[in-house]
Symmetry: C2
Subunit: 321 residues, 2 copies
DNA sequence: CATGTCGATTGACAAAAGTCAATCAGAGCT
DNA sequence: AGCTCTGATTGACTTTTGTCAATCGACATG
C-alpha cells in the first residue's frame, strides 16, 4: 500500500507514456531523466501492476464445443485451448489462459480461495501483476510438504502478490495421523475460523487430482500405494482440495478423509464463482466426478478434454427432447 | 457482440503478442501474415478493447489535499490533478484523469447514467476502449440542441461505444415551453420508464453547471439572459442535470425547473457511486451547492479547486472537536 | 468486360524502444 | 577515511516497432 519513494516517478512515467501516449524520450525530457531510465521504469510499472495490460479471453470462449460443454453440464462459462497455432504445446497454454481468465474474474474487494498443486502454481506463475484493491486470498485446505519446488503456502502468497492482495495461509497440515487429532485441531479457534471463512469467499480457484501412482497425494507421501489401492477399491475417483471423492462426486467415507483438515464441500459449493482448471488428459475420470459433485461453475481445459466430456455426456444421456 | 470474421485473427495476434510476449515478427510467422499486418492488428486490438492497457489512478489519490477533501465533505474518493510536470495545461488533464477513474469504476453488468456537456464530452473523448460486458449507458436528462460540435445523445453513444456497451437515449427534449406539456410528457410510458430507470443505475457520471452569461443553459438557448437574472435573484446557484439548484443544494422552485424533463434528485442520490468532474475554476460556487445537495460521492477536480473547497469548509465550520 | 472503388496487405524505411556494460551514489562496515 | 556492496542511472548500440506509399484482390458498376 505505502508507496516507496521511487514509485512516484515510476507512476508518473507510466501515466505520461501509457495514458497520454507520449514517447519515451518526451517522458524523459518532462521528468528530467534519461530515456533509458524511462524504459526501465516502464518495465517496473508493468511488473508492479501500476500499468495493467490484459487480453480479452473471449476468443477461447467463442467456440462451439465450449458452448456445448456449458449446456451439457450447466456451467456458467467454459474456456478451451485447441491445437491451433496459438501455442506449440497446447497443454502448456492452459495455465496462461487460466491465469487470464482468473484475473478477469477477480473483482476489487473479493475474497478468493485457492487450492494448491502443480497446476495452480503454474497459474500463479503465468499470472500478470494487477493492482486490485481490498482482495484477500485464502487457502482452501491444509498444507503438505511437497516433492516439487514449491510449497502450498507459496502458492497462495504468489497469487496474493500478483493481485496486490493480502494472503492468508492455513495454519495446519493437510492430513494428520489420527482422526482424533484432526477433530481436535479442527476445533481450535484459529483453524475453525479459517475453515469457516471458506464459505464466505466470492471466488475459488482449484483443480481436481488423480489417484494414480504418480498423483499428488502419493508423491507428497500423504498416502501409501497400499492405501491407495484400498481406497480405489472403495470407489475413490478423484481428489478435491485434498479430499477423496467418489465417481458421483461425494466424499468417500474413509479414514483418510476423516484425518483431513480441508474445506467442507458445502462451503466450497457456497462460493458463487468457482473456477476449475484441468490440464492433463489423465484427469478425465476425476473431472467427471467433480462435475457430478457440482464442484465448479467455470472451467478451463483443453478442447480434447471437452470433446471427451461432451461425448461421454451424450452417450450417457441419450435422446434429449 | 458477434465477431466479424477478421476479429479472430486480430484476437490471436493480440494474445500471442501481449499475453505470450512474442515479438511481432514471431507472431507474423506463426499466423502466416506480414509483420506490418501484425502491427496493424495490434492497433485494432487496442482500439477495440480486446487488449486493455490501463494505468492505475492511485497517484492522483495519494495526496494530502485529496484526503482532506474526502474527510471534509464525506466523499468516498477524491482525485486531484496538480500543477506538476504531468501536464503542460493542468486543466486539460482533468478529462483524461476522469476518463481513467470512470473506467476503473465501471464494472461488468453495470447500468451507468451519464449527463452531458462540454466536460462529459471531453471525458468520452479521452476514454480508452474497454471490453466490458453487459454494461448499459443511459442519459440522465432530456436533450437540447447544442452550440458546440456535439449533441447530447452523441455523448451517451460515444461513452457506450468506448465501453462496448448498449447506449440508451432519452426520447425527450430537456426543456419544454409549458409546464403542462412537460407534465404530460413525463407521464408518457416511454419517458416514465426512462426517468424511473435512473434510480436503478449503479454508477453516474456528471458535472455541475454555472449560471454565467456564457454558461451552458444560456448558450443552448434554453434560458434567456433576462430569465437568468430573475433566477439568480431567486437564489439559483448552479445546474445539475439541467435543473437549477440553490446554494443549499435544493431544487429551485421556479417555472423553468417545472418545464424540465430530467432525473429526479432522489433518483440521482439513489445511485450508489456518483462521479462528479469539475474542470473550471468558475464552478466553485456551483460545486459548493452540489456538495450541499450531496449529489456526488466521488470527485475529480484540480488541486486549486480542492484547496478552495477545503479552505472554505474550514472557515465555515470553525474549531472541530 | 473493362473500370473504379475500397479495404486489406505488404516491403522498405524511419522512428522508437530495449539492452547492457560502464559509471555513479549512497549505505554499511572496518 | 577508506573500502565494498548494492542498486540506480546513463550513453551507446541493437533490435523491434510504426508508418506509408504501392500493390493486390474482391466486388460493384457502366
Amino acid at each position: 500500500m505505502a508507496y516507496r519513494p521511487t514509485d512516484q516517478i515510476i507512476h508518473k512515467a507510466a501515466w505520461l507514456y501509457y495514458t497520454h501516449g507520449l514517447r519515451q524520450d518526451e517522458v524523459a525530457q518532462r521528468l528530467n531523466i534519461s530515456r533509458a531510465s524511462v524504459a526501465l521504469y516502464l518495465r517496473r510499472a508493468r511488473e508492479a501492476g501500476i500499468v495493467n495490460i490484459s487480453t480479452s479471453t473471449h476468443l477461447f470462449r467463442d467456440d462451439r464445443l465450449a458452448r456445448r460443454a456449458e449446456d451439457a453440464f450447466g456451467l456458467d462459462t467454459v474456456w478451451l485451448t485447441g491445437e491451433d497455432e496459438l501455442s506449440a504445446t497446447p497443454a502448456a497454454e492452459i495455465p496462461t489462459l487460466a491465469a487470464n481468465v482468473f484475473l478477469e474474474m477477480v473483482e476489487n474487494g473479493d475474497r478468493v480461495c485457492v487450492a494448491w498443486g502443480r497446476t495452480v502454481y503454474a497459474i500463479a506463475d503465468a499470472m500478470n501483476y494487477a493492482d486490485r484493491e481490498g482482495v484477500t486470498v485464502v487457502e482452501m485446505c491444509g498444507n503438505l510438504g511437497s516433492p516439487y519446488s514449491y510449497r502450498p503456502d507459496q502458492c497462495t502468497m504468489e497469487i496474493a502478490r500478483r493481485l496486490n492482495a493480502r494472503g492468508l495461509n492455513f495454519y495446519a497440515p493437510l492430513v494428520l495421523s489420527t482422526e482424533k487429532l484432526a477433530r481436535e485441531l479442527r476445533e481450535e479457534p484459529v483453524i475453525r475460523e479459517q475453515l469457516d471463512g471458506i464459505g464466505a469467499c466470492d471466488l475459488a480457484l482449484f483443480t481436481v487430482g488423480t489417484l494414480d501412482t504418480d498423483s499428488h497425494v502419493i508423491k507428497c507421501g500423504a498416502l501409501s500405494l497400499d492405501e491407495l489401492e484400498k481406497l480405489k477399491a472403495m470407489g475413490a475417483a478423484g481428489v478435491i482440495a485434498g479430499q477423496i471423492i467418489t465417481a458421483d462426486g461425494r466424499l468417500l467415507d474413509c479414514d483418510y478423509n476423516r484425518r483431513m483438515i480441508s474445506a467442507d464441500f458445502d462451503a466450497i459449493r457456497a462460493i458463487p464463482r468457482r473456477l476449475m482448471v484441468v490440464q492433463e488428459d489423465e484427469k478425465f475420470e476425476p473431472l467427471l466426478a467433480a462435475i457430478a459433485g457440482r464442484f465448479f461453475t467455470h472451467l478451463v481445459t483443453t478442447s480434447s478434454m471437452a470433446a471427451r466430456l461432451v461425448e461421454h455426456h451424450a452417450a450417457s444421456q441419450p435422446a434429449p427432447a
